[in-house]
Symmetry: C2
Subunit: 110 residues, 2 copies
């Protein structure tokens, strides 16, 4: 019933193109298993991740590189610590609000 899908079927079922499934693999975002002959196999887990990535882009406008970076943050402790330190220092809420407001105005002017 839930046989793993080959790339074309997974594409049709997920809304991505086959090309993009390969690209997503190269970017490290969704890693299918392989058949002995090298065919990509997408199981339920992978199909789910495909859907999640799609949602993250649609709902939050997240770029693929940014997701890859989130994965790096998750896996590389010293990187995460360095970024955290920067964030803690950089986030003074005072100047921030005005800046956000100016950004908004810039967007409206387009």
């Amino acid at each position: 019933m839930h046989e793993p899908l080959t790339v074309g079927a997974a594409a049709a079922q997920s809304g991505w193109s086959a090309r993009m499934l390969r690209y997503l693999e190269e970017a490290g975002l969704v890693l299918p298993r392989r058949t002995p002959a090298g065919y990509r196999l997408y199981g339920l887990a992978e199909l789910n991740r495909l859907r999640t990535v799609r949602d993250l882009r649609r709902r939050f406008g997240v770029e693929l590189t940014e997701l890859a970076f989130a994965r790096r943050l998750w896996r590389e402790r010293d990187l995460r610590e360095a970024v955290d330190a920067w964030l803690a220092a950089a986030d003074d809420a005072t100047s921030w609000v005005e800046w956000e407001q100016r950004k908004h105005e810039r967007l409206l002017a387009a």
Copy 2:
């Protein structure tokens, strides 16, 4: 002694160009205060952030957009939760190692 620096001085002292200091502000990464006439003022905090961003790029190859995304992750809870959910599901250490290895080989072939 520690007077806030104007953009050119801050540039000279931090290793960035004045252009990039303005770009970093627009990207929301380092937000200087302003003099009544509109001049940017970089105090110790800002100079520190400039150094930190520089280090993050040098040591980890972090892109500016990625840092901006880290800031988003920090500030938007629902985004952070969605990404976390995806990471938890996506990170099966088994297929990962082989993939990392292939990536390495790809880089060596260049």
